[in-house]
Symmetry: D2
Subunit: 333 residues, 4 copies
């Protein structure tokens, strides 16, 4: 059993709270938010848990094993560092930290003190993403040539971070998980339409040591949510669309015949050869699996699949992408 503190009850924190609360390893909860209204709302909803407005109370709580941090990116580092120094395991929402330097220090601190560091790369616990990993690892797709990923929707503009820091962690964490490697090159291109200096659309190119390449599109500007990840291998292609209710994953077999079109209309229709398969997916809420992983790793002393190291890798790529984008934007002025 693990007793967990949670700091930050804004947008995402209550979801983490709900899932820890329902977890069989939950050995008590202590929630914290400086916003009294939010704090009271949650305290009322869960009358049997502790609450406080001061983070120091969590740090000082001797029976608290772990702290979950769901605050603004800028506070991830100081809060997590304090927790680790106080001997508490930490779970930090994505992105893991605001810079590579910060992320490295947290990973180091965790390692030195024998504490779990984990990052909230929730998609790594999502059934279609896990299934995709299994399919890639099985070799069914062949060598992975390239991956394209589109993540556009109507987002809330953030005042301090670009769309890259907000949305790309999802895609980066999936890419690195699937390919089992970090990129050697990350270049971004984009634009800031709504708020000066805060890019709200970006196209990011990545190159990996294995030879695979990727293109990631992120934006807050689209009125409707579009998701589509395409993984093209030497043998088959996999398309993952999270907005599909039933067939989130489709695998396209490679065919060969290409019919010469006799009219423009036929040209449109002629392509397609092998079978298309949409595999059965597990059900289950990713957040529940994620919290289970955190608590389980604390109890068993194992390393989470989205550990601080994975958090650091994503932050490193975000920094590369953001630097490249800033240079491109400056160059234009």
């Amino acid at each position: 059993m693990v007793k967990t503190g949670i700091v930050g009850l804004g947008y995402w924190g209550p979801n983490l709270l709900r899932n820890i609360y329902a977890n069989r390893r939950n050995g008590g909860l202590f929630i914290c938010d400086s916003n009294t209204a939010r704090l009271n709302k949650m305290a009322q909803h869960y009358p049997d848990i502790q609450s406080t407005g001061k983070y120091q109370d969590l740090i000082d709580s001797n029976d608290l094993n772990a702290i979950v941090i769901a605050t603004d990116v800028s506070s991830h580092f100081p809060l997590a560092k304090q927790a680790l120094l106080a001997g508490k395991h930490v779970f930090v929402e994505k992105p893991f930290a605001a810079s590579v330097e910060e992320a490295e220090e947290l990973v180091d601190l965790g390692r030195k003190n024998g504490l779990v560091t984990m990052v909230g790369h929730t998609f790594m616990f999502s059934p279609p993403v896990i299934k995709t990993k299994e399919i890639i690892d099985s070799g069914e797709l062949g060598d992975i040539h390239f991956i394209t990923s589109s993540r556009v929707n109507l987002g809330l503009h953030q005042k301090d971070v670009s769309v890259i820091w907000d949305l790309a962690p999802h895609d980066f964490s999936m890419l690195f998980y699937w390919l089992n490697e970090e990129p050697t090159e990350v270049n971004a291109f984009g634009h800031a339409y709504v708020l000066d200096g805060i890019p709200d659309v970006a196209f990011i190119d990545l190159a990996f040591p294995s030879g695979s390449i990727a293109n990631v599109q992120v934006s807050w500007l689209s009125p409707s949510k579009l998701r589509r990840t395409v993984i093209v291998g030497s043998r088959k292609m996999l398309v993952y669309d999270d907005t599909e209710p039933l067939e989130k994953i489709k695998i396209y077999d490679k065919g060969v015949e290409v019919i010469e079109p006799e009219s423009f209309g036929e040209y449109q229709l002629s392509y397609r050869t092998g079978d298309i398969v949409s595999p059965k997916l597990d059900t289950g809420e990713p957040l529940a699996s994620e919290m289970e992983e955190f608590l389980r790793c604390i109890e068993t002393g194992t390393t989470p699949k989205s550990s601080g190291t994975e958090g650091l890798a994503v932050v490193r790529a975000l920094e590369m992408a953001d630097d490249s984008l800033r240079k491109a934007l400056v160059g234009k002025e």
Copy 2:
């Protein structure tokens, strides 16, 4: 009535032939291919038209008004130049020429001699592309922020040109037509998987004077055809998917409300606000409209909407993309 010569009866030429043959302005046809089998097959199919194995016969034919060139890219320039010098209007398949220098010379020759130069940007004559142009011009989408375009399928690898020269002319011609401007910046990233030195996947970023940006993905490596063009404006979004049988175009109205998710499942579902409209499209084969435009412009002395100037603009962008891709690939070695 226009008498037309057609050179090149491989993949695409017979389609152009069929559409000119059926056009009401057709005043006779003279076809040419050095491959005797191909030539005879077409001659048999259309017993009432002239045929020859020598291009010079077309040039020397006094009553021939125009020449349609559907040969390899490398021969576009010499064949078109010869035709223009002989006083014949020319239609050249896309891409218009193999370099900016060549394209410029052809445009100049046409202008000086008062001859029509036209390029086979067929999508500019396709009902969904025309409808999209009308919708953009009407202001319904607001300012165009960004456009992403994906064109991947199982392509036949070409021995002398990259996937950019093969597929990107479609996307570039649509982009420049819709936005009514040429890009100031074109950068590409990609890889050559199958044939050394012939990139078969590329991601291309474009920046336009108006502030719009675009990202174009092209590849020959995908087993199934995927098409999706997303146009995000300040007011609405338009999605154009050429593989859809019925609803090729959808317009998404912008909404505002974003519901805070209480579970991961709801988060997936919550986004979407305004109406979605799929407008009625004209029917009609793009190639028929394209050939009609060519013959009509010759008869009336007007400039086609896909004139040599549009061909040149696309070639200029192709050259920029290809140069940038080559640099990126060299840099990696």
Copy 3:
């Protein structure tokens, strides 16, 4: 404020409980189930509510205003009758009762005693169904010619009722709500594949006084859920597919032009004329609206839109369908 008892905590009862619990008009809850395990689970989850294993405790509870009945169909009548005789408003899950006779007696009892009787026709509170009602009433579709509805999935076979009594209440309640009339004729055809004497697939024809007709397909035998309701009017057609994540409703404008096909392929593509519009839908859980309606009607003394009268109409049609199906099956032996 209304104090409500809930009897039956199996499959559906807990959902009703959760929604009443969260309702602003909720003035207390008293739950009942003879299954102690179920009862205790709910009692633990909601420590602030009363619970009992005996229905009589609900009847005897003087401060209880209303009873929600979510038990087996066969017990709907005796439980509801007892409640009404004790002066309590009743909400009964669908189908309202096991026979027309029973349903009529409940409606009468409610009317005589000035009590609300309501039936759980949940789809009448579902945003796409309400939107469809608005569109029909606006006249946008013209006169309603016919409606087809398909509701097939992998169902749990029931031991005492046919698939008609299990699934058709959904479709019937929607049909009568949309058309604002009851059918004069109901005929069914079907088969019992898995359990002798319990039809698990049925096709039902309905004729309405206005001249509209309908065809309803219900089955428990399909491995995947299929839903599609098509409403064809004299002016437009509406298609409602509840399995679609985003575009649950589409309205097809009527066109006229039909192109003569020149090939089988073109024939497939030629049809389609007007615009297709997918209107914005409200969000919100139907069950929450349904429970709000029940409590509101009790407080204000108004009649719910899915009152006992609507419950009776559906039971009448179910009886007609079931009788007709039994005759057809008997006739075949």
Copy 4:
């Protein structure tokens, strides 16, 4: 080589003509239509074939082996009978004849005179329909429980036949082909909205000796084309949608787990278990295969898969459906 006469060059005849013309077994064509404009148009398009305005010329033509009849239903019988009496093989467009009596006489005549009789059940030559047949025959779906089929679109109202005679031949021919049996019971329900006495929407129930049942919906009243055939077997389900560009056939594996919903939203999502597979389909125009079958059977003396016997079976079911519908409509007045 077969020399073929074609009578009737209206809507469908020219397609048959084109496919016979291109067939390698074609040994000459002789076309016939009383409408001079139509006849001349075709004669001009195919300058190397014979044409006439009088059917008797076809009958009298000694070197003519076969006659293809693409005229109005009412003339199928007299024209086909005359042809068979003159020793010519016949292909008759669907429906094979206007009554069972007529159809029987044609089948008999063909049999007695050793001549091929074939009916234009084109869908039996369509790749998705053939694939479906193979899948059913392989036992992959298990025992076929029921089939539903929807065929609605904006049709041209016919003055002399109901929508059943116009559209149901497609569905009936597919059903009988797939199930390899004829129905013992056929009942229809419908309505005539536009023209008095000419039903333009019908719902048809069919029962087969094996225990399978079917429900067929046909209508001319829908503004947009909808097609969906669902085949539910004891093991798997197959859905065939002819309007889908790529995945015309999908096979749904049977699953078992059904999750108890905790909210209405989850209820919507919970169903679905096994894999979904969309098999590769052959390409090729059904009409070309159909004409190949006709000419091949004449040359080899074999029986076509859509022989007169299949034509008769469909006519028998059409008559049963139409009789039943007429009784139902009369009963209502």
